[in-house]
Subunit: 170 residues, 8 copies
């Protein structure tokens, strides 16, 4: 079966952040595809990627970009598949504000599901949540992941107690 | 059949913005449920709403709130259903920045799919896009909607030409 | 002769601001064309507009949009003609910051000549300045315009003196 | 006697900042408890912590978190004990703005006493000030602390004079 | 008995916002005193107010001011009583950012418990929460207030249902 | 005697704000001159104004402008007389941030004494403070003004008491 | 033949960023001139540079500066040649906001074509685009550059595939 | 003769920035005094410093502070001597915004002459400019300093030319 989730980013320099989305999806046993597509340098490639996405079987596209980040919005312009946007704090970014606002503030008619600055891992989880609506196996793994996050906090609470901080709650 | 999309908001004063999500969904013939849930004033109600969402058959929750907007994130804390967050520019908001940042900047593990400030209509479209992954009827309506948006722009181009502006492109 | 300057905007609601560009160009006896092109709703139309611009004889494209404003940058992606971007403070904008940053912060390789928020008139002047590099008639009109601005300030100085404010400089 | 002040934080990574609150309280001979509670990962733990706080004898809760920081506000949702919020500039924060706004901008009915970014030490002092309203020993220590701060400034003034800067005031 | 809570503000123009603190306190049957004290125009009056606060029996001071708001911080400089700061969005304010930052960002040693922009009502509730630590009557009223807020939300949920929105949750 | 203080502004539309500087100076019996000088439209006029300022007897120049406000800084570039800059929140301004930053953030070597957004009255007072260093009559009036401000606050305190607010301090 | 493009900057410390403009122009076989001109320290030099630019044959001026950056706007005040402004994030800058706003927000009548923060390379490309309007050789090189950018993205896509990421699109 | 300029700062950690003011004044052969005064930790010391300033012969006070910086404004509250405020980007500052806004945005009646973030050197020059109004020796040195700045730029222009950059202007 072809990939269900496509991860695209504007430049190879976004890979350090964006590979987090792939890592998370693999935790839920979803193997995404991942490639480079630039809205400004390869608008033709972008159009083909977005237009073919549905027939290729993609259910979700995760798109990350920095600065005046047009990639997520322009992919969303060409498809009805949900697009998750990841604002990347690239070197040419103004503290990330440009990436955030140019992904988040999409006009009426063309939504992008925006996650936190550099939040590629959460983008991966969100994609899994969408797939899980019709895949009980992924749903189960997401429930387990939620449990595990809960456990990590409790483990941390123990660590902190072991450091000598008073704790009469636990 | 029970509702597939739940729309919740922190206070009745958010209704003017948030009903836009319902209006859009109805365009795609999805009848959402809509109610008031406050993270800060009714944390118990919030928990029950979020915990029961999946078994009640909800596929997507759209949550809107203003100021220090904790509603979308706290619902996402309790469920694996995708949560779409709508930052509302309420009267007690600082130009909307507080709503945006407290919905968007969710930590690792608990994503919220954030849309534009007051972007409830786009939240409705995004919810429809998620449902359309397994509903060809909604998918068809979304494609038609996209066509229609395209038509509106072309109609606007004609209007502007009729106002007397030169246009040798069309 | 076909138009030398094309003015495009994302929606008819931008016309109030963007017609300022046309008004200025007419002052320099340049009759621009003006139409509606949306990056998100009509990406195909955008591509054709940008791709054909050079062969149609356009020398400059002025593109205005609000919110996550992708129009100027996406036109620039498709052409080597200079693109002047006008951030529009539309109703769905966050005080204009989103429009400014998503037009200004273009990545390496694809510049957009950005002017002030709602600065469509200055976009018109800038377009005229570019045309004037090879058109002495426009150049003369720009020089006269500059003189006239100087005169207006001196006239204002007289008005203020006539209101009774002391002025021993003039 | 059980602890009078509870210090909680969203993750172990906040400890470096948040232990400052404990250090200050110990200066006033108040031994706080300190543990990890996450609004998003352990909403159940949060609820129990907040609900039991009063009966366990806590008088003040200091809660620190970064990013979309919901911990202080959600604790305040469950208790009438004063909650002091510490915005933490975590690695996933946008210069701290997200932490500040999502703690400070609480809606009507549920206040959080917010201190400066990374201001955990001041949170500790503020907690001591509240306890001091009914504890003359702590009040005395706070008065001494204030005197000491005054002394430190005067000491600094001497240091600077000794470096050779002119000072005819002291 | 003298007042337990003192409400001060920098100018009479802050009264519209700041009287909200008094209104809330009266709901909990605490009658505060309220007057005008300006850090910049009456530094002497400020000092006397702050220095005498404790001996006059005040337990909490609520201080509101706009622009470069020094009132809360300067009162805190002179007393060990908890000071709650209310950033007021006055006419000379830059969207409230100046008020917020000059109250919130207090240096080490002198905390101010800051609430939301124009959040005088929450300042009143916070003051009541502090008093309630040693006053079971106020504590009871705060619990009742919390219940009431919960009821209001549920009432809103009914209103919205009566407007015809689907709701199968309630 | 010629004027001691020159007030200049970039456009007649700044007069509503900037006349505040003149009004304040007249309270201290200093009659300023006031005129229009634009950095961008009349750079020649600006240069002459700044260059002649000292020989014409000006002691202080107050310069107000909005948007990318270059007037105060460019006057300061041409003279060693102190220049007070007033950021004006003009219609083309982004909430005043552009005016503030382009006046305040002057590089090494060319200071501008910046006052608050629209703070023309304070600019007038500051100019009077500078003149008062060598004019005991103005100094006396400034002391009286300070007293008067103190009185106004005390008067406000009485007004508020008369409205029925408890006040056992005064 | 004299230079067609003049690159100026406020201080030698801007050279690291601003030489990017020269590098890009050389790629298009345009040899620019480059020198230091300060609006605040050498207003006379600025005026002569700008006034002589047209007769010296310059077609475009690229001006870069940081902080309260008046250089681009003041050059534009003196000439009708297009001025491209480069906001430089200098050491005395507030995250670049001051440079951006004091270059971008030019008033009516005097446009500056602003590019991204530190976007000197894009300024070089934009200058080449303007020259290319009447120089088919530069136009050809710009088209080739655009192709090359497209190739680089496709090369990156291959690199990423070679790293082992799934990619069934290419 | 006693010092004419007093430099004060909130903490010894501000010295690295603030000594720049002293260095500049010494260039103009003005020997300032310099000491530590904290608005929040030593409000009494602040009051005495400000109140005695005039009788001690001070003509200007330069005050620097970071975070919620109340020092310049509170000194200005107590004296009619011009106060120059230096926003310091201290470690507890939010990118300097808090320092800037809490110094700049002073209310009606109490101006502070604010300079750029960390602009202590410019504060020194501004103080010298004020003294120069009645001291021709300082005035002469300021004129020479201005010339020298001009020379430095021209020297830089030569350096850059020597690096091999084309320059047919000089």
């Amino acid at each position: 079966m072809g990939p269900l989730v496509g991860i695209v980013m504007g430049s190879e320099s976004d890979l350090d952040v964006m590979k987090g989305a792939a890592e998370m999806l693999r935790q839920f046993e979803v193997e995404p595809e991942l490639t480079i597509v630039s809205a400004h340098r390869t608008p033709g490639r972008l159009k083909v990627y977005a237009k073919k996405a549905k027939e290729r079987g993609l259910k979700v596209i995760i798109a990350g970009a920095g600065g005046a980040a047009h990639l997520p919005g322009m992919i969303a312009a060409h498809t009805i598949i949900p697009v998750i946007g990841v604002p990347v704090k690239s070197s040419n970014s103004i503290d990330g504000w440009d990436s955030i606002l140019s992904i988040l503030q999409m006009p009426y008619g063309v939504p992008v599901a925006t996650v936190a600055l550099n939040g590629a891992k959460n983008a991966g989880i969100l994609a899994a949540q969408i797939l899980a609506l019709h895949d009980t196996s992924i749903a189960g793994k997401l429930e387990a992941f939620k449990e595990y996050q809960d456990d990590i906090v409790k483990e941390s609470a123990k660590n902190v107690k072991n450091m000598g901080f008073r704790n009469e709650f636990d």
